[in-house]
């Protein structure tokens, strides 16, 4: 039964990670472009590197979490463990996401401060 749970869990987690990463990649472009003041080449490179880093971090974390799995005996326990683990992964994703947004916000404040004092 554990193998079934792992397969389900990995499939769901990988789909969520992939979709969310794509969403972040598309919507983060504007921010990074703004941060690098319209330098398209540099911001594309940074964006792609960030995406790869995100995938590595998340898929790795999801795979490592399997080692803490308890033994499951029937379909009910499979459902419970898969759902609660997926929920946990989503919560960590949300935490990382909001931290990232805070960092970008702080960066943009700093940049405004610099620009203001340069002139």
């Amino acid at each position: 039964m554990n193998v079934l749970a792992y397969i389900l869990y990995l499939a769901i987690t990988y789909i969520i990670t992939f979709r969310v990463g794509l969403l972040f990649y598309r919507n983060g472009k504007v921010y990074i472009l703004h941060l690098f003041q319209g330098n398209e080449k540099l911001s594309n490179a940074v964006n792609r590197l960030l995406l790869v880093g995100y995938y590595l971090l998340n898929l790795g974390y999801a795979a490592v979490m399997i080692s803490t799995w308890e033994t499951v005996h029937n379909i009910e326990e499979v459902l419970v463990s898969v759902v609660s683990m997926t929920g946990w992964i989503m919560l960590t994703l949300a935490t990382i996401h909001f931290l990232n947004m805070t960092v970008i916000y702080l960066f943009s404040i700093q940049r405004k401060y610099f620009n203001h004092h340069k002139n």
């Binding site: 921010y31 009910e76 946990w88 949300a94 909001f98």
Partner: protein, 135 residues
């Protein structure tokens, strides 16, 4: 084998939580576009991408929390206790969702106020009163 109603409870709980989260997120972030356009002074691309970033975060946070607390520790033996436990769980989750909704609204109003203050400050810096420049 002793039959428990836990599995049925999970099968009811999951769709309700997912539908509730979807409905709240859908309503909140359809209406937040107005706020975002105000905050970013009508810069459409920035406003819409911020909106969708917040939306993704909202989904991740609330669905993740809803799924994480699904486990029912006690064995449910009859339909009455199943209904009671389910209503406690779903009611608690929807109160939590309501708080999240109001927290998001607070953030939007705050962002709008700050951005308005900033634009006022910029206006006064760019156009100083005439008298001070003559001195």
């Amino acid at each position: 084998m002793k039959t428990t109603l836990n599995f049925t409870a999970y099968l009811i709980y999951l769709p309700v939580v997912i539908a509730l989260t979807w409905y709240v997120a859908h309503t909140l972030f359809r209406n937040s576009k107005v706020f975002m356009l105000d905050i970013f002074h009508g810069k459409t691309d920035m406003a819409f991408s911020t909106n969708s970033l917040f939306k993704t975060g909202f989904y991740l946070l609330n669905l993740g929390f809803g799924l994480w607390i699904m486990r029912i520790a006690v064995e449910i033996l009859d339909s009455r206790s199943m209904l009671e436990i389910l209503s406690t769980k779903i009611g608690g989750f929807s109160i939590y969702l309501g708080f999240m909704l109001f927290f998001n609204l607070y953030l939007f109003f705050r962002g709008r106020r700050i951005s308005k203050q900033k634009s006022k400050a910029v206006e006064t810096i760019e156009k100083p009163p005439v008298n001070t420049e003559i001195k």
